[in-house]
């Protein structure tokens, strides 16, 4: 009996504590949002896709990622139509999400209390709170509902802070200010819907690391984003590895095709069509004598070849 009462006390306590923690998701909440991820997690519970994969992902095109996601049933992962600070650089990283809402005094009181209970900084504005938790390799992704004037989430100071923490940048369904100065900051890039000289007004932070919507995409904390000149694609953490190896294999595969077609030993259809066992053998032999540096490790390649019927 005492034991049961204790359980109840713990559960109610948990519930109440949970009710107080309305602002940032707990590690348990993030885990339950991302049950398909079985690998390492950050201390805050977010899936932690490896730095190596983040680096390799940079080489993929948006289309390669888009096609692979589509075959897996993920059709709402791409968002385009951005203003990009440095459009020639490619950014990949692990997503931290933040949701902004129109200001409302009663809700602001609740959020302020929640932030205080969670031990968040009481100096400066609440729009600092998502930045405070960023670490190297993160990308700060915020839904500020496309608000441009009076919707600027950052200027040059906060951008410097993001650069210092993440060496990456931000993706905002909204705007930034101080762009001339922001453009000078090293290790920082921004994909935004607009730029405006005004200061943030009549809006408030609502949640951190909850699912948010960036245009056509539902984005979860720990998703991996690939952002380049042609847009942004948000990849569920558990699909990143497959997607990268698939893309890398495709590149090697295409290289082989070009090599063979230049030899003109086989007909175009034999090479640029479904491969016979003979061609597959030639391919494996070519791989064995591959002189350049393969993008993936040998064991990873072997695993891929077996899984896809080449071996």
């Amino acid at each position: 009996m005492k034991r049961i009462l204790l359980i109840i006390a713990l559960l109610t306590g948990g519930l109440l504590a949970n009710a107080q923690q309305r602002l940032g998701s707990t590690p348990e909440q993030i885990k339950s949002l991302t049950p398909d991820w079985t690998g390492e997690r950050s201390a805050d519970g977010r899936p932690r896709v490896s730095d190596d994969l983040l680096q390799r992902l940079k080489k993929l095109t948006i289309e390669e990622a888009w096609e692979k996601l589509k075959t897996k049933g993920y059709v709402n992962q791409y968002e385009g139509d951005w203003q990009i600070l440095h459009s020639d650089s490619v950014m990949t990283g692990r997503v931290v999400t933040a949701q902004y809402m129109p200001a409302r005094p009663d809700l602001k009181n609740v959020i302020t209390a929640a932030g205080k209970a969670e031990g968040r900084s009481q100096a400066g504005g609440q729009n600092l709170w998502p930045i405070d938790i960023l670490v190297n390799g993160d990308v700060y992704v915020a839904d500020s509902y496309g608000k441009i004037a009076d919707g600027t989430l950052m200027g040059s100071s906060l951008s410097s802070s993001v650069a210092g923490h993440t060496k990456r940048g931000v993706i905002f369904n909204g705007s930034i200010r101080d762009v001339a100065e922001v453009a000078e900051i090293k290790n920082f890039n921004a994909w935004v819907k607009g730029m405006d000289p005004s200061v943030i007004a009549q809006m408030q932070l609502f949640s951190i690391n909850q699912p948010i919507r960036i245009g056509h995409v539902t984005v979860l904390p720990g998703d991996v984003v690939l952002a380049n000149k042609y847009g942004t694609i948000f990849i569920p953490s558990h699909l990143v590895e497959d997607l990268v190896i698939d893309g890398e294999f495709q590149a090697v595969h295409d290289q082989f095709e070009r090599y063979m077609l230049l030899q003109a030993k086989y007909s175009t259809g034999q090479i640029h069509g479904t491969w016979t066992p003979e061609i597959k053998k030639v391919f494996l032999d070519w791989l064995d004598h591959y002189t350049g540096k393969l993008p993936m490790s040998k064991p990873d390649l072997d695993k891929y070849l077996k899984a896809n019927g080449y071996k």
Partner: protein
């Protein structure tokens, strides 16, 4: 043992409640109360503020602009949204039930449907908000302005909504079968547009969580005032005050009109700060028109006292 048996369902309920909190979908009662902690009145079993039926009825007659001004003076400037298409010319008021839709993705949809099944919810997620509607509710949904394949209801669901809530809906989304919807007597829908397609590739991510409808922010239990200008979402704890102030503005206008018409006072006397003489006349006029006054005498005196001219 008897006590244990009683406690076990409580433990299970708490566990399930905790499960709800884990994926932000159905908001747990405690969290809803915390979010709306400024509301001190009656609540539904799920924790949603329950403003009185009487207030819902009174709100139908107030001017939306007067209520908007009252809210603005209280510091609430993001409570109105315009730019709607409607299916009928019906004004409605009610208590907000909020729903947030997002673009679907298989991993999230799987978790939501599994959790929903455990809570006894069936079918597609867009029927779940409708299942919980009761009389006097207004179903308010953020469907992220999606038109094609963003139709949150056709005439079947429209009929179901109206039979459960006796009220209209507000969708930042589209609806299908406008003719069928307009045939539902007493029903109205504030939507962004109409489209013949079915709803596709969307999933319910929040039920009775705070949502954004365009420039407005809506909490469950807000008083929804849907009129020709657009929709105003009045926080539950301010509903009585806002409705009374709006009623007062209309009383003051009626009184002033009569005073000026009968030559009792000049327009300047009515529109600037009232002298004791004008106040006296106002109270006398109020006593002579009991049918026009819906607020209590105490409320009226408080408004008169606070009013800045």
């Amino acid at each position: 043992m008897a006590i244990n048996k009683k406690i076990i369902p409580v433990v299970i309920a708490l566990l399930m409640g905790f499960g709800n909190a884990v994926v932000a979908q159905t908001i747990p009662r405690e969290e809803l109360i915390f979010l709306t902690s400024e509301w001190k009145g009656e609540r539904f079993a799920d924790g949603r503020p329950k403003i009185s039926d009487d207030l819902l009825a009174r709100a139908k007659d107030i001017g939306l602009d007067d209520a908007w001004t009252a809210l603005k003076n209280l510091g609430y400037v993001n409570q109105f949204e315009s730019g709607w298409k409607t299916v009928n010319d019906v004004v409605f008021t009610g208590r907000a039930v909020t729903a947030m839709y997002m673009p679907s993705r298989p991993d999230v949809e799987k978790s939501i449907k599994e959790r929903g099944a455990k809570q006894g919810r069936a079918g597609n997620t867009n029927s779940w908000p409708i299942d919980i509607l009761v009389k006097g509710d207004v179903y308010v949904a953020d469907g992220f302005g999606k038109i094609g394949a963003g139709t949150l209801m056709g005439s079947t669901l429209g009929n179901s909504i109206f039979s459960k809530s006796g009220n209209g809906v507000v969708f930042d989304a589209s609806a299908r079968d406008v003719e069928g919807l307009s045939e539902i007597k007493g029903f109205n829908a504030f939507v962004r547009d109409f489209h013949p397609s079915f709803l596709e590739s969307e999933v319910l991510m929040g039920l009775n969580t705070p949502i954004r409808i365009g420039a407005a922010i809506v909490l469950p239990g807000d008083l929804v005032l849907a009129k020709r200008e657009g929709v105003l979402f009045i926080p539950a704890q301010l509903a009585e005050q806002v409705v009374s102030v709006a009623e007062f503005v209309s009383l003051k206008d009626d009184f002033g009109f009569e005073m000026v018409k009968t030559g009792t006072f000049k327009t300047g006397q009515i529109d600037s700060e009232w002298t004791p003489e004008v106040k006296q006349a106002f109270y006398k006029w109020v006593d002579a028109h009991p049918d026009k006054v819906k607020m209590s005498k105490a409320t009226m005196e408080k408004i008169l006292e606070k009013r800045t001219w």
